[in-house]
Symmetry: C2
Subunit: 312 residues, 2 copies
């Protein structure tokens, strides 16, 4: 992970000073670096020992993730990211759009240096799926007729695709057979869905200081997430009117977030979301079954368990 961080810092450099400056702002904020960790751990579990490819590709995964964060924050008009002012709050909207593009191209330059068309295909397809998922999220915003299946499509795109690709690449650099690539892709995919479900629950349940971003962001932005869909479906007429006013029409008053949180508790919507997340974690762990037991397999299984534990 240290080598990966060094690669990230070295490769975000540019003669245009604003680029490393803005990149440093988001990279310094840290974040969990969960996605590059998947690449590194998967490569090691698969017995990769041929050099530094996994480090470079892990950095590349984090670059793609960072680029999407920069663009997301512009789209969502977020003010907080990783517990600090988001890049768009500090630099306005312009620089984050362009620096996001730059980081995206840096990710591809790293992959091209790596030289594997197979890796390029996996990560590029993931990037395309992320963009589709983000657009789909925009389309479902403010729309309470969104089905759970469509909500899951958003999650598969915006989150699961990169988790899946990050893990799969570990098998590729180690030259493992396609069954193992698929197993790691499935592990990452299910882990990514679980991760996003927990994130969506935390938006209504967490402590801002712990979460590192504003609680209630999804609510204010009218994002349709699973906790809300559950509460809406179980709600009576008054409650449904409340959700429509706040999420569809975007009319908010000061007590609304507290009331929304209370409705979610009342209908056990947070618990139900977390229990769905737990079943995706279980799927992720099952997918690891094709690999022989090892300390690294255990570590990957533990990462999945940790995803749902961060709630408490």
């Amino acid at each position: 992970m240290n080598a990966c961080s060094r690669t990230i810092v070295a490769r975000m450099d540019s003669p245009v000073a604003l680029i490393p400056q803005l990149a440093a702002h988001i990279v310094a904020a840290g974040g969990k670096r969960l996605r590059p960790l998947l690449t590194l751990a998967a490569a090691r579990m698969c017995g990769y020992a041929g050099g530094e490819r996994h480090v470079r590709l892990a950095a590349c995964v984090e670059f793609i993730h960072t680029a999407t964060l920069l663009h997301d924050d512009v789209v969502d008009e977020s003010r907080l990211r990783r517990g600090m002012a988001s890049a768009n709050a500090v630099f306005d909207n312009k620089a984050p759009v362009l620096v996001g593009d730059f980081m995206f191209t840096r990710a591809f330059q790293l992959m091209i240096e790596d030289g594997s068309l197979h890796v390029l295909r996996i990560l590029c397809d993931a990037a395309a799926t992320i963009a589709e998922g983000e657009v789909l999220q925009l389309v479902t915003q403010h729309d309470l007729t969104t089905t759970e299946e469509r909500y899951l499509d958003v999650v598969r795109g915006k989150t699961a695709a990169l988790f899946s690709a990050a893990a799969q690449v570990g098998a590729v650099v180690a030259g493992r057979p396609v069954t193992e690539e698929d197993a790691l892709a499935s592990y990452g995919h299910n882990l990514g869905i679980a991760f996003q479900l927990v994130d969506d629950a935390l938006d209504y349940a967490a402590d801002e200081a712990v979460l590192g971003k504003s609680v209630g962001d999804d609510f204010r932005e009218g994002k349709i997430t699973l906790p809300v869909l559950i509460a809406y479906q179980k709600g009576n007429g008054d409650e449904r009117r409340f959700w429509r006013r706040t999420l569809e029409e975007g009319e908010h008053n000061e007590q609304d977030l507290a009331h929304a949180m209370q409705l979610l508790v009342q209908h056990a919507a947070i618990d139900e979301t977390l229990s769905r997340a737990a079943s995706f974690v279980h799927e992720a762990q099952l997918a690891l079954g094709v690999f022989p037991p090892s300390a690294l397999r255990q570590a990957l299984a533990d990462v999945a368990s940790y995803t749902i534990k961060r709630v408490h």
Copy 2:
């Protein structure tokens, strides 16, 4: 060009309907398709006859260009693009950021299908240079101490890099030696600079209906372009105060654009910009000298001449 247009339409499809919808908005508006034309003409001039690679890569060049246009318009808050309402004016800022990302990944998917790491490197490096140029443009905005050299750095990045890569790729698909690759890269590079210089002149000199975008956009946005740098350098104290008020401090009144245009005429700043453009066109045409005379070499030379003729 028809095959290239068909590829563009086919490959901007997605199950997420807003993507082809927004893409169609900008692609339907047309534009000159100058960059893909360079790839196609260069490939043919180099004797490429091996299939459809040049068509796919030309589409890919246009995808990269379209992605940057979508992001530019968000950054510039432009209301007009190619004579029609710009995507951000119709769809707000959110969708164009994300659909730009999608088009960008589509471009890379097309290159990965093509399978040449050399082509990937050329176009990815161009994309990185574009992003750097755009960020540099942001940094020089509102800054009349910008030197001409720095202005040219912006132009090399935001415009010349893709022209250069588009032309170079033609030699690569045809399997031509590196001297011919370099010659086409140099042709595209110089042509791109000339093109941008003319564009910057037109922003103060053109008819809105002919230009297809608002006249005076650069002025209102405080963009520092060569016509302005020339007039500022030649200006007296009053004039310099005028430029500082309008471009640096962004204070505008209704007569300012007309006054700016008058100052540019008075100091022959438009003519001087166009004469610089003409010398870059000349450089571009000289670079074609390594190729034997042919109808396609003449066509490429004519494209360069046309660049400066579109003013009148």
